[in-house]
């Protein structure tokens, strides 16, 4: 098991190198630091001095890959590639445009993100699985038919409208909870409720429909017929036999996104003013703060690969057929 995990972690290295090279090319090769500086400072009336100053402030004033002027190891280390790209492997994210340490920001901002994302995920799965089971139980009937149609209708509404509508109804019209803001501890609860509820509702349609197909697929299998031939009731067939098998794809599908929960939800956080990583990212994109975007790209990849690893491990826990080798 340990050996397997180590091996899988090694697999991740080439992928992270790929991500690293890709971001390097995107951020420094497609457009040179000069171009970026010019775009930032306004294209027309910008002096070369201003550009150099902008670059020096951010440490973009070095050569890209090889520093000819430096000597020894400095040839390699005194470059943008080394300082900005390779440093990511050591989780040294550098500073954002406003001069703050990105690493510091990440470690404080991930908690509000988790406070929204974790309950949203757990409640969302619970509700979706329950409704999906209900539809599977009544498969082929009008309950099932209209349930699916309602799911499709829910899926057809843009997530933005759930947020806007929820904020308008609950916050503005009924004054139940504040429209936006965040606080820690018990006081934070009132800020969390609405985003979580909206997050759950927004994902419900797709979730129910997906899980329903999982259940129906299992219901068509031979072992279900065996269970019925044993004289088990339909609900027992559904809740023990089918549910247990269908939970395998459901759980492993969830595990893969677990680590990325740290990243938070871009839209929810930004609409509700939650100071999490999602809103941090979106602000960085809108302010064209490339250092932050680059850091988040790398962090996202690391977390995704972690998710893949966890998925493999979780298979061994829920599926007796799978043994890691």
């Amino acid at each position: 098991m340990i050996a397997y995990i180590i091996r899988r972690t090694l697999y991740a290295i080439p992928i992270l190198i790929g991500v690293n090279l890709l971001t390097f090319v995107l951020f420094f090769v497609v457009n040179s630091p000069d171009d970026i500086a010019r775009a930032h400072l306004g294209v027309k009336h910008v002096t070369q001095d201003a550009i150099e100053k902008w670059k020096a402030e951010r440490g973009y004033d070095k050569p890209l890959i090889i520093n000819e002027r430096a000597a020894g190891v400095e040839k390699i280390t005194g470059t943008i590639f080394f300082e900005k790209s390779l440093a990511l492997f050591a989780f040294e994210f550098g500073r954002s445009d406003d001069g703050r340490s990105i690493g510091q920001e990440i470690s404080t901002r991930m908690w509000p993100s988790l406070a929204i994302a974790v309950p949203t995920l757990i409640i969302g799965i619970g509700v979706a699985v329950s409704f999906a089971l209900l539809l599977a139980f009544f498969r082929g009937s009008y309950i099932d038919l209209w349930g699916v149609v309602i799911c499709i209708i829910m899926m057809s509404v843009s997530g933005l409208f759930y947020i806007i509508g929820g904020q308008y109804l609950v916050g503005k019209l009924w004054h139940l909870v504040p429209i936006s803001g965040y606080d820690v501890g018990v006081h934070g609860f009132k800020f969390i409720v609405l985003p979580v509820v909206i997050g759950v509702i927004g994902g419900l349609g797709a979730g129910i429909r997906l899980y329903r197909t999982f259940f129906l697929e299992e219901l068509g299998k031979d072992y279900v017929r065996t269970a019925r031939a044993k004289g088990l009731s339909e609900s027992r067939v559904l809740f023990t036999h089918v549910l247990k098998n269908a939970m395998i794809p459901i759980l492993t599908g969830v595990v893969v996104i677990l680590p990325t929960l740290f990243m938070g939800s871009l839209i929810l956080e930004s609409f509700f003013g939650i100071p999490g990583l999602g809103s941090y990212t979106i602000d960085a994109i809108q302010a064209q703060d490339f250092a932050v975007v680059r850091a988040m790209v790398f962090l996202g990849s690391v977390l995704y690969i972690l998710g893949l690893l966890l998925t493999d491990i979780s298979y061994t826990l829920v599926d007796p057929r799978v043994r890691l080798a």
Binding site: Y168, E217, V293, S301
Partner: protein, 470 residues
Amino acid sequence: MPFQPVILWTDALIFLLLALVIAFILIARRREHLRAPWREVMRSKMAMGCLVVLLAYFTLGLLDSLHFRPALPSADASNGRVDYSTEVLSVLDLAAAPLRSRVEKTYSAPFAAYSYARETVTRLDGTQVREFPRLQFGGAHLQDPAAERGRDILLRSLRALLVGGIIWLLSGALLVALLARRANTPFRLMLANIMRGRTAIPWHVMLYTSGAMMLLAAWCVALSGAYHILGTGKVGQDVFYEAIKSIRTGLVIGTLTTLVTLPFAMLGVLAGYFRGWVDDVVQYVYTTLNSIPDVLLIAAAILMLQVYMANHPDQFDTIALRADVRLLFLCLILGITSWTGLARLLRGETLKLREMDYVQAAVALGAGHAAIIRRHLIPNVMHIVLITMVLSFSGLVLAEAVLSYVGVGVDPSTMSWGNMINSARLEMAREPMVWWLLLAAFVFMFTLVLAANLFSDKVRDAFDPRLRKL
């Protein structure tokens, strides 16, 4: 010539896609195994009703994709030189010219005769008052809006519905007559069969859906001539016009993305067929791309495009071209984030197919790799491509809105539902609320996405044999 045709990148691709679809239909008509699942789709009432709605959207989108530059009234007609406007218009703009040109000063509510914002107006007697000024175009024909508006709207609506109804009856009769001729049955019998739902294809549902659409269209056309039926936006533009113009943007993103994706996704077939190092490379590439969160990859790419465009203004001389390149680039980058899913599906299916006896038999007969991929593999994975294409359409339309909100969507000058929502969001706090932009975007987007979702649900049922048994 009074105009100069302009073919934007996305126009060219749209017509390429259209040509592909038509070619596919012609081929599928002759092949039973392709026709059978479509026949199942065509027998579904839900799917055919949705198809009518989708066709209406696609027609508007296509009209909006025929671009041209109108000739300017030349100052010097004698030398025979014609100057063309720098403004790129579409056939749809031509049809909706009144909507495009009647711009108010700022916001106004649907069917309003007065502006949303107070203004300082100088009366004839020289006194200055702050009041809601009359709109320049919306309800301008009314003497006393408060008293006349309701009656006016009602009369115009009735007239419009009457006209719409007549058009519907005439076109419906034409359709029934055509069907009757083809089936060689009397008109009345055909009509009775259709109305009672006794035809294989649910023509009655299509007739009713198209009837509803025609009445609605007639009403919109009639009323939008005199009012801003969905209000006006911040700079006084007609929201109804904006919503209609957004259709093309949504369709381009929903369809071209998958078209751009296809060549990449086919790598999955190669990976599954050749295995070995080809498989390793393809898998590595898609795991790497997949590991970057989609929004961030799109954001990074679009930001870099912005920087590039800012630094190379000479390559993008017209606003239309800039916006179009950005739209195309967005499709491309969305495609790059989404091809991995399809490629993985295709790889998995190909791994299964290559072990099938008929592929083994082809190898034993001495068929080469190219022949096997072309004759045996690609035709047998096309249904997956089709299902993915249809299913991802609505997701992409929705994604456009979110991306535009984040600021990495289409160009701000491109009309799109995302941009409409984004601009409305900034006015959320205003009292009274500016709700009509949201409403317009919601209605147009929801209708398209819902129709596409319901349609794709049926397509998947028909093409995916796994779920056919229940």
